[in-house]
């Protein structure tokens, strides 16, 4: 269960960042060897954002759904989930700020 929570959180962040990978400054995809991918990514952006939100939903469900047995939640998983949520929501609500940060990284 903990693995699912962590996987969902990390995947949500990765897919959200992937959503902006369409138009990352040239240096970043080049460094990752993904120049060709950057031409395909714009079309994938809405899907990647949707996947991020769904994965966060999976993360929250597994974190807060009450199981038959009483179990303690991993603090690390919770922190990861909250961080992932903040990042994904920042990407969706304040994309210009994130785009500006990414452009400055180039």
């Amino acid at each position: 269960m903990i693995r699912t929570e962590r996987f969902a959180s990390v995947s949500a962040v990765l897919s959200a960042i992937g959503a902006l990978a369409c138009c990352l400054p040239l240096g970043i995809p080049a460094a990752l060897g993904l120049i060709g991918l950057s031409t395909v990514m714009p079309a994938l952006q809405p899907w990647l954002l949707a996947i991020s939100v769904v994965l966060l939903g999976v993360g929250f469900l597994t974190q807060f759904r009450r199981g038959r047995a009483c179990r303690r939640h991993s603090r690390f998983s919770l922190v990861l989930l909250i961080t992932a949520t903040a990042i994904v929501f920042a990407l969706v609500l304040f994309p210009q700020v994130i785009a500006d940060l990414l452009a400055r990284l180039a």
Partner: protein, 194 residues
């Protein structure tokens, strides 16, 4: 979720939300530039008149997306060219919604990438300028090497030499290429050509 967790979440999210909203919403253009103008079928002739106002100058049109980091880099590269050279030119930066994340007009961070007073900034939600360029571009000798998404041109720089006027159709540009950051040396050369 416990009260403590909720408090932590709100403590992190609230300042981020306020900071993000500040940079997204307060979209004033830099001093020395007119306010961001909206382009629609009614105001397109205003852009055309502005283009024709100084035919003795070179005119540069940039097509940009406010949430595309490469476009933002391109805007900065144009700013650098304007900073380093006293070119007699007017730059029309046309921001358009190209990505699903482009749900708002360009905010402070995007607009401040182009600080020079020779720049005029526009928000074109219906891609009217990109459509005009695509239509007119079919007969042009210079063709871009890239820069089309969902049928609309973007991340593109177009240079029109002095003396040209935009009448029924856009005139033939002397330079047309993208991405803006990738073709910035060509753009600088086109602008510095005597």
């Amino acid at each position: 979720m416990s009260r403590k967790t909720l408090g932590i979440v709100l403590g992190i999210v609230a300042p981020l939300a306020i900071a993000g909203a500040y940079f997204m919403i307060s979209g004033g253009t830099p001093s020395g530039q007119p306010a961001l103008a909206n382009i629609d079928s009614r105001t397109l002739p205003v852009l055309q008149a502005e283009f024709n106002r100084h035919p003795e100058q070179m005119r540069v049109v940039l097509l940009l997306s406010p949430t595309c980091p490469t476009c933002l880099e391109g805007a900065s590269s144009v700013e650098k060219i304007l900073d380093n050279h006293s070119i007699l030119a007017t730059v029309f930066a046309v921001w358009e919604p190209m990505l699903p994340t482009d749900w708002a007009p360009p905010g402070r961070l995007a607009l401040r990438r182009l600080q020079d007073p020779r720049v005029r900034q526009y928000w074109d939600p219906d891609h009217l300028v990109a459509k005009l360029f695509k239509e007119a571009g079919q007969t042009w000798k210079v063709q871009p090497e890239c820069c089309e998404l969902n049928g609309f041109l973007w991340d593109l720089a177009v240079v029109f030499s002095s003396g040209q006027r935009w009448n029924d159709r856009l005139p033939e540009p002397t330079f047309l290429n993208g991405t803006i950051v990738g073709s910035s040396s060509g753009l600088a050369a086109a602008l510095l050509k005597p």
